[in-house]
């Protein structure tokens, strides 16, 4: 009897193992297409970029010569790289925080404060720029930002403000890029955070209100903690996006005047596709990859203090 029971038990275990194996196999099969895409479009190019970063590579002939750390040293000794690094960190701080912070504020505003139809209207308005190709609207923004014939300076002039050199001033060019970038991306941040706000228990908010918590306290003590995983996700996306900022600058200032608004990715593109110096472009890309990795690790390390997963 014992033997039969043992055999049945062993049979169950074997069956369970077979089922687990099948499930695991299916899981691997499902991940295979995206894994294949990752290998072909991410892993291999990254390996290739690492290899090229140690070489002097002639893009026309395909000839290459090992040069050790020369490309890295030339990048680190180039004042333009340092300038682009400073600009990138500036964008990272302000575009990252601006997009996430403003996205959070807008998400709260369009969550359920206003009537439903008005909410839908404003959600659409704020999200609309995310749907538009930046290259098309760039022309309009350039018109807006023109110093002498621009719309913004015209209206500022009506209030007695003298002309601002949005695109021709070294100090203002990054601000113009920041405005364009936030206008373009804040809608997406709002939408993602809005999904997180759906998790907030309305009863909890009402209870807090009855207990005397004001709007800011409810926001700070209830809404932010509950939606913190989504806010963290949006912050990561915005920070890594800002570290790779390119399109917003390219279409508006081209990196100028001078190098005042140039980011690291713009410098990578310039070295690779204007100077055809693939070695230097690859070295700079690897340094940027390292920077993104470090910043992301710092964010993850810091997240345990304020992100609450249930």
């Amino acid at each position: 009897m014992c033997g039969a029971a043992g055999a049945v038990k062993r049979g169950h275990i074997m069956k369970k193992k077979r089922t687990n194996r099948r499930e695991k196999g299916a899981a691997y099969l499902f991940t295979l297409p995206s894994f294949f895409g990752f290998v072909v479009f991410v892993l291999i190019p990254v390996i290739w970029v690492v290899i090229i970063s140690f070489q002097k590579y002639n893009v026309f002939t395909g000839a290459s010569e090992f040069v050790g750390l020369k490309n890295y040293l030339s990048i680190l000794n180039d004042p333009r790289s340092i300038s682009a690094l400073k600009n990138t960190l500036w964008y990272t701080l302000l575009c990252g925080i601006g997009n996430t912070g403003l996205g959070l504020v807008l998400a709260v505003l369009v969550d359920d404060i206003l009537p439903a139809k008005v909410n839908v209207f404003f959600r659409s308005i704020y999200f609309f720029p995310s749907l538009v190709a930046l290259t098309f609207v760039a022309i309009i923004w350039q018109e807006f930002f023109q110093t002498d014939a621009g719309v913004i300076n015209y209206y500022l002039g009506l209030f007695g403000v003298s002309k601002v050199g949005w695109l021709n001033s070294q100090n203002m060019s990054k601000v113009a890029v920041l405005i364009l970038d936030i206008w373009k991306n804040v809608g997406m941040s709002m939408l993602l955070i809005l999904a997180g706000l759906q998790n907030v228990d309305k009863g909890l908010l009402e209870a807090a209100q009855i207990d005397g918590a004001n709007a800011f306290q409810r926001f700070r003590r209830i809404i932010v903690p509950v939606a913190s995983p989504q806010i963290f996700f949006v912050l990561i996306m915005n920070i890594t996006g800002a570290l790779r900022i390119y399109e917003s600058i390219l279409v508006l200032t081209g990196g100028g005047p001078g190098d005042s608004s140039r980011s690291l990715v713009m410098l990578v593109a310039e070295k690779g596709f204007t100077s055809f110096d693939y070695g230097a472009a690859s070295a700079l890309s690897i340094l940027l990859l390292g920077l993104i990795g470090i910043v992301t690790l710092i964010q993850f390390a810091g997240s345990k203090w304020w992100v609450h997963y249930e």
Binding site: K24, F36, T147, G256, F273, T274
Partner: protein, 429 residues
Amino acid sequence: MKKRMKRILAAVLAGTMVLSMAACGSKGSGEKKEESADGGKKILRVLNWGTAEEAQIAQDAIDRFTGNHSDVEVKQTTVPVDSWSDFIQKWISMTTSGETPDVINIGLEATRMAVENDLLLPLDEIVEGDEQLSKLKGEYAESLLNGFSVDGKLYGLPNGTQTMVMYYNKKMFDEAKIDYPKDGWTWDEFLEDAKKLTKEDGSVYGYGLSSSYFQLTPWWSTNDAYPTTDDYSAPDLNSANMVESVEFLNGLVEDKITPDPISSDVYSMFASKQLAMVGAGRWCLNTWMDAGLTNDDFDCVQWPVNKKESSVYGGAAWCISASTSEKELAIDLLKELVSDEYLKANAAGGQQVPPTESLATDTEIMGTTPDNIMGIWKAVTIAEPVAAPTYFGDIEQGLLRGLEEVFSGEKEPKAALDDAQAQVESAIK
């Protein structure tokens, strides 16, 4: 199971690496003769640039060619060009993907870059051995042929050119009671006129400075300066004459004779009568006429002179790839692409100046607006080629960055040009 999975993954990884290496290593596969899928036709590839209209004009010429060569299929790829480095990049992409173009329409800016990297076939022997091409060569402006020659060898047959003349608003000159400028006028006379034409309320500027590489060049060439050494081997951005030119331009910016050159769209401003003068080629004329400007409103004159009479020219030429496997067919196609019919159709598009004197001085092709439309061809004949060394992208970007620093008040002209010189030297060493 784990081991097996690892093996599978390793195989996938190795396979994809081999595939991608094979893709990278396919450079030069264009040398292999290619046949189309339908009926074994030979394939020629054309790399063109420009507008949809220009692509259609080229396609018409291609259709005439295939009409006489029923065994050949021609595939045209037309790309918009933001920068010539991008164009070269697209060329490289086509080559590495096994679709090497046989016939290429290349801008003067990219010619030396292409020749330096052995991408083009010298055309001298081909032209000498062909009656049609020899005759055509005799009709081109010599300056244009020089532009597409490297070390005495001709690499392209021009199909269009661009230059710069100074356009002025006649009514604004009349209103300010200033005589219209005449060929041979000087920088000082230009400055004096521009100051008088500038209105204090900012509604009209005497001149609109465009801070683009090509558009700026007449300011160097009329001051006997050039951004590179004579043999193009090194930049020469901080020569005394270059510094003098930039100081003159910066004076225009500081005195508010020109709107901000970094952000302003000077061609729209000229059309909307916010500028009294602007430098341009033929490419603006259609837009301005569409905006309502007529011969009564504007005319053109040669560029003001400081040290010598000059301007700038650029342009495009049809070339044959050094790696074509169908040289004879490519030559036949090239002849169709520089035929009279093609050149006339291309010029009629209104963007480019035809590359031969007979077409560029034909009012049926060039039109009669403005009155001095023939001055455009004169500018081509006295102009210097746009400075386009093998490191064109570096010198273009380096110079423009330096000028932006000057115009934004960040640096003095000499300091900015010294820095630009050092940056370009560093990039090309």
